[in-house]
Amino acid sequence: MSAQTYKKFENAGSTDLPDKMTIYQDCMNKFNESPISPKRCRILISRLLRLLLNGETFPETEATALFFSISKLFQHPNDSLRQMVYLAIKELSGMSEDVLMATSSIMKDIQNGSDLVKPNAIRSLAYVLDESTAFSAERLLKSAVVSKQPSVSSAALITSLNLLPISETTIKRFANEAQEAIGDLKQFPHSSGANSEYYPNSTFTTQYHALGLVYQLKKNDKMALLKLVKQLSDNGNLLKNQMAKVQLVKLVNDLVNRDNQLFPQFQPILFNWLSNKFESVQIETAKLITSFASSHKNARLVSPDLFASTISTLQGLLTVPRVTSRFAALRILNKISMTSPEKIVICNPELESLINDSNRNISTYAITTLLKTGTAKNISSLISTITKFIHDVSDDFKIIIVDAVRTLSLNFPQEWKSIVKFLIDVLKNSEGGLTFKNSIIEAIFDIVSFVPQSKEVVLENLCDFIEDCEYNEILVRVLHLLGKEGPFTSKPSLYVRHIYNRVVLENSIIRSAAVVALSKFALTKNDSTLKSSIISLLKRISNDQDDEVRDRATIALKLIDFTSADDENSLIAHDLLQSKKFYDLPSLENKLSAYLSSNTDSFSTPFDSASVRKFTEDEVKAMDLKRKQEQVFNNTSEGSRETPIDMSLESTTSIKEQRLDTETYHGASLDQHQEELVATKYADELMNVEEFKDFGSLINSSKIISLTEQEAEFVVSGVKHIFKKHVVFQFNIKNTLTDVALDNVAVVCTSEDAESSKLNETFTLPIDRLMPSIELQCYVAFEKDSDVVMEGFLNNLVFTTRELNPDTQEPYEDDEGFQDEYEIDPIYLNAGDYIESSFIGDFESAFDELPNEEIAVYNIQEDISLQEVIDKLVVNTSCLPLSNTQFAPNDSNSHTLKLFGKSALNGMKVALLIKMIKSSKGIVIKAQGRAEDEELCSDLVNGLM
């Protein structure tokens, strides 16, 4: 061996990456040498693998050449070389062609090789076989599955699993052998390993692999799975491996999710598993029970005893020394805390001791869970606990805590005092970066807008805060808030002084924000001295050295000047200084981009902003609150949705990573946003139809209601649009047939009670031709003779089917087609369609102030949970649930729901106080409605269900 090559091998262990071409050349040379030198070849292969595992790839021809020369090494019988060869074959199989050529060598090894390399050989089969050759491995795999060697049997089972997608029929032929392997306890042989110096324990992992494969083979056969579970759970000692046991728990989970009626039957087994000697089994069982119970329709199938012992199992796991077990238990508790925090209050002492856990993730989970379990009683003590340690933790962690506190403030508006005190304290006294401070400001803003009582205290504290705040972004936001809320407080002049201080002391960005805020104070009612001092301040500012500041001051002066006049300009000026309306942002964005892309007359016609929907402040707040509530809810009820949401969330901010599955605050709004976009799109399309132009502006649109099964031949969904004097039903019809087109598609709506119908059908806009897999809209318009009309309509889809010529995708010329009908679900126009959700800070006093009262009592015989009733009520009335009453407590049989909304026609307020009690006979509901409009009130209350 020359000195040079020797040196090269010496360096094999160096941490630098070897050169790709050198490795390639060396491999080609050494592997084709005769006789083969196993030691050197193994070193070479490991260097090659290092390249590949670092992400290097070879072009296909080179990879194929490498693969070919490596397969020559099969000639050498050395086992330790052989193991490496298999590794290389697996890695290279992805990038080279003709991998099939190694099959015969591999198969020879499986038959005659030593026990050591057999498993490696079997496992490499999955990489070299394809659909057409997989069957050839049947006999080999079958005999390997029944082998007494656990590693051989495991390898065969996993390979079968890997091959399953391409050769299910082959694998099915030895389903029986696989099934037997579940119960077969294969001892790990002590003497046959390469390194007999170790003393292996038999873990019986083969059981796990066999169970996994058998499930995949039988997953469509519920009865077979049931039998399997019964067999394995009756004989508690059959499964020795803990992974296999966990797999069995998962299998039960699968079964009860398919058919929830099976749950009671499994209850005794689950009880047993909760005290299983393996913590993994306890955790998995707890996961099963809690996730099953979190769905409303299943909750009552879980006996309270079982749930209680689940919680105590988890509670026990919180104190074990093993980090992973604590972490897993906390994760489950955290999930429960989102839906039913009252159930885990007993774990609070343990949770509190975990706040100082050395694992940051555990302490984070502990604190967020604790904050969720907060009840009106213990909030202040919780907050004081947090105050003690918040200054010692990192920014990421602080943000999570602040976010949790923010949720708390939405849920317990009456506790605002201690929450505000806490937030202000952290804001002023704690070190932290921009993101952290911003999250506090975000939380404070939420409190100001949803808890009106807190306004003055918060604003005064914010004034103090901006005296020494280093972040421009935050200063600007605070100034904006002061300008918005300040004029309506008892002492507006106080804020003027603070804002003007900023003008004197800060940079131009903040100065310009301060100018805008100042100008709003000029409109304060009944205070002419304040107005004149604002004017003099603004005059002084209009000499500012910065253009923007000067401009803003000048404009503000001019506008203030206008407001004193008593003409049309005054209104406009008022509006500009202090806008009461906000544009619907998604729709504005849509319109603007459409405007930019159309560009027909090089923008000589100005953009028409009137066509964009506007909202008043209350409406914005209502939507905001609704979104936040829905997020919290979605987050909890659908664990499965967590996954994609989290992914998208991830890329946006790195700070929020930590709260991945504790809080998916921003994630869920994606869906919401999508929904809004669709709604705007529908409204736009509607307004573009010539026939509807005379109806005036659209007052309200309902959510999309599904009118057929999702799997039906024609999928239909409906939207109700309300106009001043008209009602339009929009039917979205999708043709899911592949070879038939529909002509003249229309919907025939028949009133349920034709005699007294107050709606007269004016016209229908049919769809001329509906091609396969296309969705189009059909509109049916009605004229209504009074403001609020409630009616139900039976709907029939009528159309002419025309068969399509598969070549041209056009209907046959001579095919007349034939008339057909298709019944779809009825559509109901109810009082809720005339109502928009609205926000009010103080529900009780607002409720008492409303003049007209109406009371109705309902009796529901069906066996449904309170939560289901609440959900239905919220959807039916389209009101906004307030004071967090949209969640029914799981442990109580009564609930009070507070709903608030206003008429879409004239903006009259309506409030509903709905009390419900659940008994063994059903649910009794007493709805008490109060509204400004008598008719609306009675319609709403009487049409609740």
Binding site: T15, N195, S196, Y198, T324
Partner: protein
């Protein structure tokens, strides 16, 4: 809905003390080409970004387990290397923990001079083989460190066919193993 498939491990990583990869293997179930798979699997750039971010998150943060980008991560930091197991978010944490201790334990058994960058690179063949004996395509193969270690072949001592057995090392190895097992038991008993 918990995950019934056996494909529970998404990746095994070994990073150095700057977050650069020493070993990284991402897994996906084979023969499922029509299914949209995790983009991490075939995008090197994304993988490296993922590793860097993960490293930043875990460096000097002795926390063993965390949730990161929708994965359960188990890790252990040594002097100048960190070993990671990236698991499916729906998998049982303790199962993953078992696989990870199998990984950690067998590394400690096989690299008897301690786990550090130099040792891992010098014995990379052993490391590759042992990881292959723990995880196959994301399926956990074995969790007992000694079983894993005993399935990994050492380098051929010479270019001859005979392998000699180093008895001295054997006894030491046994002693070391017994010691670690005893420690583990004691810890669990507490």
């Amino acid at each position: 809905m918990s995950n019934l498939s056996l494909y529970s491990v998404n990746a095994i990583l070994i990073l150095d003390n700057h977050g650069n990869r020493i070993y990284s293997k991402y897994y996906k179930p084979p023969h499922l080409n029509n299914v949209i798979t995790d983009s991490l699997f075939d995008n090197i750039k994304k993988q490296k970004e993922f590793e860097q971010k993960l490293f930043k998150k875990t460096h000097k943060q002795d926390s063993e387990i965390l949730i990161f980008e929708n994965n359960i991560i188990l890790y252990k930091e040594y002097i100048d290397v960190t070993i990671y197991l990236v698991g499916n978010i729906n998998e049982n944490e303790i199962i993953l923990q078992n696989a990870f201790s199998g990984f950690k334990g067998s590394m400690e058994l096989l690299l008897n001079n301690g786990i550090d960058n130099k040792n891992v690179s010098e014995n990379c063949d052993l490391v590759y083989l042992l990881i292959d004996e723990i995880i196959d395509n994301g399926v956990i193969l074995e969790t007992d460190p000694a079983s894993i270690a005993s399935r990994v072949t050492k380098q051929p001592t010479s270019d001859t066919l005979n392998q000699t057995l180093d008895l001295d090392k054997g006894l030491l190895g046994a002693w070391g193993f017994a010691k670690s097992k005893l420690q583990e038991r004691l810890q669990q008993g507490l």
